[in-house]
């Protein structure tokens, strides 16, 4: 540890907050927007969500069908790789478990998945990071429909990983046999992105 001469730090969080903050993160009351390009605006009547494996379609939902799936609410802390964290964010949507059930699957057919989004963004995920109520397709934030800037109409929410994994404007989940890098992951970011292990960049253990 190199002590930085003269650095005292102004933003001491209380002990309770500090325990909830992964290493290198700080708390923000705001909800910053981060995207690699312009915000996508997708009309609900053109929106659908597809579940795929190889060439076969395992399930596909229009907006109305999707809204009719069992809804789950979760309150969680979120952590962005650009260092901000936000506590107690409130989301509603469909868990990946319920999505698999709606497609008539007892279990995911493979161990990996690529999420594809409007605008061409992709991110890779381990199935283990998605099931058992660890992740959802979120459509509401604080009881209001998710704004386009924050990923509306629907985004992936995987709160226990850095937030670039919670892909905005998600449209297609494709099961894969292997873990191959998505968009950020092929531009220098970590393949998994666990904030508690500070897996920010490729090369972090």
């Amino acid at each position: 540890m190199l002590v930085t001469r003269g650095f005292k730090g102004r933003r001491r969080e209380g002990d309770a907050d500090r325990l909830r903050l992964p290493p290198g993160q700080f708390l923000t009351p705001e909800f910053p927007v981060l995207t690699t390009g312009p915000t996508q605006h997708t009309r609900l009547d053109r929106w659908s969500l597809a579940l795929q494996h190889g060439g076969s379609l395992l399930g596909k939902w229009s907006w109305e069908q999707f809204e009719a799936l069992p809804q789950t609410e979760i309150t969680c802390d979120i952590h962005c790789v650009t260092k901000w964290s936000k506590f107690d964010t409130r989301w509603r949507g469909v868990t990946i478990d319920n999505l698999l059930r709606a497609a008539g699957l007892d279990a995911a057919p493979t161990g990996f998945l690529m999420a594809h989004c409007d605008g061409g963004y992709t991110t890779n995920l381990l199935i283990g990071d998605l099931i058992e109520a660890r992740a959802m397709i979120a459509t509401h934030f604080d009881d209001l429909p998710l704004l386009p800037a924050h990923g509306g109409p629907a985004r992936l929410l995987v709160p226990h990983l850095y937030f670039w994994k919670s892909a905005k404007w998600v449209r297609r989940l494709a099961f894969r046999e292997n873990d191959t890098p998505g968009f950020c992951e092929s531009h220098g970011y970590h393949l998994r992105g666990d904030p508690w292990r500070e897996q920010r960049y490729e090369g972090d253990l």
Binding site: F7, V33, T35, T36, H187
Partner: protein, 253 residues
């Protein structure tokens, strides 16, 4: 690439070798970073500051200096009001001080000489930093495609790198510089006035003709607005690359 990635992920102890004022609230700090793996224009680093009691703060800063493998890199830092890290860097940091740095990070918001296409750059306030690095990299690489920069500042004395930008614009025929001032304009001002909008973008030829690469950087709200204008003007969303520095208000545009 694993080797390069490991090199970028590693924390290094950098030494401050020079500090200069760019404007009243912006400083450029030069660091000597032993073992620096080299970078592209537009990439950033993470800084890690540690207090005596072990408290740690990390922030990202774009690299201002041009691409290359020199172990001397420069960062340009805007003092955000009440900023924990930018305040420390402005008020406390001295030549000879040591600080932990890692990088370079992010190969998406980056310009490399192999992609010498038409280039449109749009900056708000300190959002100029990674774009300046791209322009410096282009100049050093002898890039031949046309580049345009539209740079929004509050007032003339808040323009960062003003004389260097003027020099670049005077030296090369394939770089067009436009400033816009949003708060105060001096008499006889020949640049633009007011916030960037579609009309201004069109007037300054920030159009999709020729399928240019577009890089937009600045405060979050600035980037959001401009990216929407660009898409509405017909730019392909996949050509528009954005970097958001943080909440509006504190960055002076």
């Amino acid at each position: 690439m694993i080797g390069a990635a490991m090199a970028a992920a590693q924390w290094r102890v950098a030494t401050v070798t020079a500090i200069r004022a760019e404007t009243a609230s912006v400083k450029t700090i030069r660091f000597e970073v032993p073992g620096w793996p080299g970078h592209l224009g537009g990439q950033h680093v993470d800084l890690r500051l540690t207090a005596e009691d072990g408290y740690v703060a990390q922030r990202s800063y774009s690299i201002a200096s041009g691409a290359g493998t020199s172990p001397q890199i420069e960062l340009t830092i805007d003092a955000v009001p009440d900023g924990e890290v930018s305040g420390f860097l402005h008020e406390e940091l001295r030549i000879g001080d040591q600080i932990e740095i890692r990088g370079p990070i992010g190969s998406y918001f980056a310009w490399s000489a192999e992609h010498d296409y038409g280039l449109l750059l749009i900056a708000g306030g300190s959002g100029i930093v990674p774009l300046m690095s791209m322009l410096r990299s282009r100049a050093a690489a002898g890039a031949t495609q046309h580049a345009r920069l539209l740079y929004s500042s509050r007032s003339i004395d808040q323009i960062i790198y003003r004389s260097e930008l003027d020099r670049l614009a005077a030296q090369t025929t394939h770089f067009t510089l436009t400033h816009t001032l949003t708060r105060e304009t001096p008499s006889g001002w020949a640049g633009e006035q007011g916030r960037i909008d579609r009309v201004m973008l069109t007037r300054r030829q920030f159009t999709p003709a020729g399928d240019p690469d577009v890089y937009v950087c600045g405060p979050t709200a600035f980037v959001e607005t401009i990216a929407e204008h660009l898409v509405a003007m017909g730019h392909r969303a996949s050509n528009v690359r954005t970097e958001r520095f943080g909440p509006t208000g504190a960055i002076r545009t």
